[in-house]
């Protein structure tokens, strides 16, 4: 039963990724211009154009090229960058690690923060703490991520405190975590974008659970309040919150783009912006697929966690 449900989600995820790859590939066919001439620039003699076309398989029909491109995604051959002339995979190698580090740090901070704030707010229902948390999360949830980032830069890097670097300082080629201070502001910015949604959802479900019969029962039989919250209420409230957490973590895959640009952080988001600016199609295709894959995988993991933690499905097995 559980295995069947998970297998179905898995098949569905593969189907979604295939459909996304169709969109990503065939959208770029609308693009006017000739990639071979773009790569060669001034030196575009007919022979060289023909050679590049043969090398990049540009003279094949679109369907064949799609299949070759799709096959390349699995073997790590992501095509050729028009801007640099080199393979896309070489361009992206280190950047993927850098982006995953940033996303991972943001997730590790924002999830406990959001859950804790939500619980705290629910326990102080109607009080001053509760309404303060509700208002702050509502305000933060509205702000575009770069607005939060610039506010943090103005406070901690340029005017009031001047204690943290405003942009990434590590020279190209060195891993980003060699200078931990440069990771602080981008991580906090992402965490501040993501945590409010988690906190709001946590508060709502926690309030429902706290009103339920079994929590009252636990309190009446004299279970310490701490234990009531952590052992009785929290496990029931975390289910719906897990969905929101998944949506937020998946959002990070796209949200990281603007933040990397703002902090000049050497990840795939920054590479995507550069590629769009130079219309470097194969890089844009590769990164779009990477981000979509990340998004689908996070959602899949959340679904599996949801299936495994749902007692109704578990006991039906």
């Amino acid at each position: 039963m559980i295995a069947k449900l998970i297998a179905r989600r898995l098949v569905f995820s593969v189907f979604i990724l295939l459909a996304v790859s169709l969109i990503v590939f065939f959208a770029t066919l609308l693009l006017p211009g000739d990639p071979a001439r773009a790569i060669l620039g001034q030196q575009a003699t007919p022979e060289r154009v023909a050679a590049i076309n043969a090398q990049m398989h540009l003279d094949e029909p679109a369907v064949t090229r799609y299949l070759m491109w799709l096959g390349g995604l699995f073997t790590g051959d992501l095509g050729t960058s028009v801007a640099s002339g080199g393979p896309v995979s070489a361009l992206l190698g280190d950047r993927i690690a850098a982006t995953l580090v940033l996303m991972g740090l943001a997730a590790v901070i924002s999830v406990p923060l959001g859950v804790a704030l939500g619980i705290w707010s629910a326990l102080r229902r109607g009080g001053r703490t509760d309404s303060a948390i509700t208002w702050v999360t509502l305000l933060l949830a509205a702000l575009p991520e770069f607005v939060i980032g610039i506010a943090l830069i103005s406070i901690f890097a340029t005017s009031v405190f001047r204690i943290l670097p405003a942009v990434t300082m590590a020279p190209p080629g060195t891993p980003v975590w060699t200078l931990p201070s440069q990771l602080v502001l981008p991580t906090i910015t992402l965490a501040l974008v993501v945590a409010p949604y988690i906190a709001r959802m946590m508060r709502t479900t926690m309030l429902e659970v706290l009103d339920s019969g079994f929590v009252e029962m636990a309190r009446l039989k004299g279970v310490p309040e701490r234990r009531v919250i952590l052992r009785h209420a929290l496990p029931h409230a975390i289910g719906p919150v897990a969905q929101v957490i998944a949506i937020q973590l998946a959002w990070l895959a796209g949200g990281v783009v603007v933040i990397e640009f703002l902090f000049r952080y050497p990840g795939i988001g920054q590479a995507l912006i550069d590629a769009v600016t130079f219309r470097d199609v194969q890089v844009v295709q590769a990164i779009s697929m990477l981000v979509a894959a990340l998004y689908v995988v996070v959602n899949l993991l959340a679904d599996i966690a949801g299936i495994l933690s749902n007692p109704k499905i578990r006991s039906a097995a």
Partner: protein
């Protein structure tokens, strides 16, 4: 309309005048007026309307006032770059920050409203259609939805901009399209909620054409969730379009635009911060305003359901 409620009491002209200014969809139905009054009665609603209205006033009248107030047009050169001359100094090319700030909101606002309207119309249509048709059609529409939802909004927009360029219609269309699947989910769920009601059954029994049932019976009864969506989508539209301009991939120079101003002036944040802080503040106030408004609409319409 059949959403008429009990609040038909005479409303003070003061409230109506203030609400009409902030409410783009002007309908004379009394049901609508009472909904606006309920939103105004909430603290979030009032704050949201005031904040949104404030930025609305700046962006609509700003372009007219830029020249007379600052003495310079938004693309005119006033001084050397990053000086303190004038009210808020000069920007990276020596243009007046104040003039560009006043002129920089209208286009962002127009694009956001258009993108929201497009996404709302497209999504509502798809969602109602999926729910009402049911079966295979429903399945197909919702699966296509899932595929579109797997591409983050900004990445989808960047893909479109790579292919089609940074034209205004591209921004509006692509952001509208990325809203559509999200709106469609809400519209579908709301439609499924009303579709079993007796008045729909009755209309079907009288052989009212299906499109008229959709327009006359279903649409008026899902305006609550859809107006909450409208507020949320407007907030996200503003955020996304401002983000794209900030990335240098939305509005193009020499246009005066808040997102673009932040991009142009952020290298001098510590020397001449006004060129960044003014547009950042405006975008922040605007998105907070529309989000509070969406929250208030959600509460106001949820309350009606309880009363009914």
């Amino acid at each position: 309309m059949n959403t008429r409620t009990d609040m038909n009491a005479q409303d003070p002209a003061r409230d109506r005048a203030q609400n009409a200014a902030a409410d783009p969809a002007k309908e004379s139905a009394s049901a609508h007026v009472s909904a606006v009054r309920r939103v105004w009665a909430l603290r979030e609603g009032r704050t949201g309307i005031i904040l949104t209205g404030l930025v609305l006033l700046i962006s609509v009248f700003g372009p007219l006032l830029a020249q007379p107030l600052t003495g310079f047009g938004p693309t005119e050169f006033a001084d050397k770059p990053f000086q303190d001359s004038g009210i808020f100094g000069t920007d990276d090319l020596g243009r007046s920050v104040a003039a560009r700030f006043l002129a920089g909101g209208l286009r962002l606002l127009c694009y956001s409203v258009l993108a929201t309207a497009l996404g709302l119309a497209l999504g509502a249509l798809l969602g109602i259609f999926a729910a009402y048709a049911g079966g295979v059609v429903d399945q197909i529409i919702m699966r296509i939805n899932d595929v579109l939802l797997a591409i983050p909004q900004l990445v989808f927009a960047l893909l479109a901009i790579t292919v089609l360029g940074t034209h205004g219609w591209v921004l509006v269309t692509v952001i509208g399209i990325t809203h559509a699947p999200r709106v469609a989910r809400v519209a579908r769920a709301a439609t499924l909620g009303v579709i079993g009601e007796d008045y729909i059954r009755a209309a079907e029994m009288y052989a009212v054409p299906r499109w008229r049932i959709v327009v006359q019976e279903i649409a008026p009864n899902i305006t609550g969730p859809l107006s909450v969506e409208a507020g949320l989508r407007l907030t996200y539209s503003i955020g996304t379009i401002a983000s794209l301009s900030f990335l240098g991939l939305g509005m193009q120079p020499p246009v005066a635009d808040w997102g673009l101003m932040i991009n142009e002036n952020r290298i001098a944040l510590s020397v001449q911060p006004w060129g960044v802080l003014l547009p950042v503040a405006a975008i922040a106030v605007l998105t907070i305003g529309t989000n509070l408004l969406a929250d208030a609409i959600a509460r106001a319409t949820a309350n009606t359901n309880v009363e009914a």
